[in-house]
């Protein structure tokens, strides 16, 4: 499903700083003029070093923070207008880094119900939504368990279900996979991809894992509070030196082929995954066979 060209989030010349705590210290600049458009149904990955402003940007997107200059418009609602705050937060759900610190309920299904309860949804409807959301993320059998008995990946899936129950149009994951083991990361990403492809939910995913960035429709690189690069994963990662210069990494496979190219081979520069690599190698072998 692709609702191309309909804007989900529009950021225009956004500036943001954190107020200085004491008189003699300076304000901490976090966002220095960001222009970004997120389309409906898009899977966008934000990359950037620690302290580059990714998290701040995410919080600006669901009115947890308000821009000091410029505007953020979510689904047609300006975040600066107080009246819009709850409409925006209903449409844009957020999953945070630490799985333990965002689960409110004492039982999994209670936690999933927390969002719709806040929205004042009638009890029977909440029940329906909770069951449906837990089914979507594949956690139905854990509905009556206490959250502290779940694994990290499972907790994050519960957090996602809690947002789904509010029927959002966009989910933002603020480094939600960074505290998970590879297995948990895969679980969460599978759910995200399914939501994005099948339900058409817009996903904004902040991550340090380049393999995850390869799954995106679009990647934006944030550095020093600005978006300095934007494009498809292939476009972004083909500039291996540029990416490394920003203190980031490229996917392992890309790096292998980059090093091979340095040695004089001529492989394409947009190889991101093992599957890509396999295809290219097979092609090359076929060419050789014909050549012989």
């Amino acid at each position: 499903m692709n609702n191309n060209n309909i804007t989900m989030i529009q950021a225009k010349d956004v500036y943001f700083y954190y107020k200085a705590l004491t008189e003699d210290s300076e304000n901490v600049e976090a966002i220095n003029g960001v222009n970004l458009q997120v389309k409906k149904g898009e899977f966008l990955v934000l990359l950037g070093r620690n302290g580059s402003g990714k998290s701040t940007l995410c919080r600006l997107f669901n009115a947890l923070l308000k821009p000091k200059m410029g505007t953020v418009v979510v689904n047609g609602f300006d975040t600066l207008n107080e009246d819009n705050t709850w409409l925006i937060r209903k449409d844009v759900g957020m999953v945070f880094q630490n799985p333990d610190n965002q689960i409110v309920g004492n039982v999994v299904e209670e936690d999933v119900a927390f969002g719709p309860e806040n929205l004042g949804v009638p009890p029977a409807e909440i029940r329906k939504r909770v069951d449906q959301s837990l089914k979507t993320v594949g956690m139905s059998e854990y509905a009556e368990l206490a959250p502290h008995r779940l694994s990290g990946g499972q907790k994050q899936k519960v957090a996602i279900a809690g947002i789904l129950a509010m029927e959002p149009e966009c989910i933002i994951l603020d480094e939600a996979t960074s505290m998970l083991d590879p297995w948990g990361r895969k679980e969460v990403l599978d759910v995200l991809l399914e939501l994005n492809k099948k339900e058409g939910i817009t996903v904004i995913h902040v991550t340090h894992h380049m393999e995850e960035a390869c799954l995106a429709d679009r990647v934006a690189v944030v550095d020093d509070g600005r978006i300095i690069k934007e494009g498809s994963p292939a476009e972004i990662f083909s500039d291996v030196e540029g990416i490394k210069g920003m203190g980031l990494d490229v996917p392992q496979v890309t790096e292998v082929f980059y090093k091979l190219n340095q040695k004089g081979y001529r492989f394409p520069t947009d190889i991101l995954t093992v599957e890509d690599a396999l295809k290219v190698i097979k092609e090359q072998l076929a060419v050789k066979r014909i050549g012989n």
Binding site: N62, L64, W86, R89, K90, G93, M94, F96, N98, D100, N101, Q102, I103, V104, G105, N106, V107, E109, E110, A113, F114, G115, P116, E117, N118, L119, G120, V121, P122, P123, I126, R127, V130, A146, P147, H148, R149, G162, I163, M166
Partner: protein, 266 residues
């Protein structure tokens, strides 16, 4: 395992007492307390004890388990009994050494002991048969009228339930910090009680800092999920009175009347 600790000493079961509405149970235990304090009649108090033992029996909680709550107050009971027996004015019964035991003193001691026993058994039966979650729900619903005089009822209930949610998380964290500090050479096992208490400061400080950080995270997460206090909030699970509640409260009221009869007769 830390995760297996039962919170609030809930004893899982499927009895009538377990199934009864938390509001009914809370009100009943409060009524029992009031009666036990109001009456001065020995027969009434004994009936109250019999009644609470019967209630424990109906809940299928082992009697020894239900009386566990009495252990910590045993000293208090003994203390009051001794004081009452030896230091009450009244008709002297017999004298040991220089202490005179009065008839009234003995009676008063028995009454106080009975009173405390019923009090503890009654209230622990509520916590034994109700999950902490239902208990907070029940308390919130019961305190609802206080909202009119601006008591933050919803907030209190929310705090209680969040506290319950984070008990296992913080327990685990405490264990982690203890291990981390032990690895750095901290000694928690030697020395007298004061030294031991002091040695826990390196555990408490990081624990507090992390608890505040968690609170901050949780507040942000709650806000981003549209939490804005109790107003216009609905609940998925509604507390509902059933036939069981009718039967349970009926039996209870009958018991109360029985307890009060000797009070009026003598």
């Amino acid at each position: 395992m830390i995760g297996d600790i039962t919170l609030g000493q809930y004893y899982p079961g499927n009895s009538v007492v377990h199934k009864a509405d938390p509001r009914v149970k809370i009100i009943m235990s409060l009524l029992l307390m009031v009666i036990v304090f109001l009456t001065d009649n020995l027969l009434s108090l004994s009936l109250a004890l019999v009644f609470s033992i019967l209630a424990v029996y109906a809940s299928k909680v082992p009697l020894s388990y239900a009386f566990k709550g009495l252990k910590p107050v045993m000293i208090i009971i003994l203390f009051t009994v001794v004081l009452n027996v030896f230091f009450s004015d009244g008709t002297p019964w017999f004298t040991i050494w220089k202490l005179t035991v009065t008839y009234e003193g003995v009676m008063r001691a028995i009454r106080t002991a009975l009173r405390i026993t019923v009090l503890i058994t009654g209230s622990s039966l509520v916590t034994l048969t109700t999950t902490p979650l239902l208990l907070t729900d029940g308390i919130e619903k019961l305190l609802n009228p206080l909202k009119k005089i601006k008591v933050p009822v919803h907030e209190i209930a929310m705090m209680m339930s969040i506290a319950l949610r984070f008990i296992p998380v913080l327990m685990e964290e405490t264990q982690k910090i203890i291990k981390a500090q032990t690895a750095r050479g901290a000694d928690f096992d030697t020395g007298n009680i004061f030294q031991k208490a002091k040695s826990f400061i390196p555990v408490l400080v990081p624990l507090f800092i992390s608890a505040f950080r968690r609170a901050d995270d949780l507040a942000t997460a709650m806000e981003s999920r549209c939490y804005r206090g109790g107003e216009n909030r609905t609940r998925m699970k509604q507390l509902r009175m059933t036939k069981i509640d009718l039967v349970v409260s009926g039996v209870f009221v009958l018991g109360l009347i029985l307890m009060m009869i000797p009070d009026f007769l003598f």
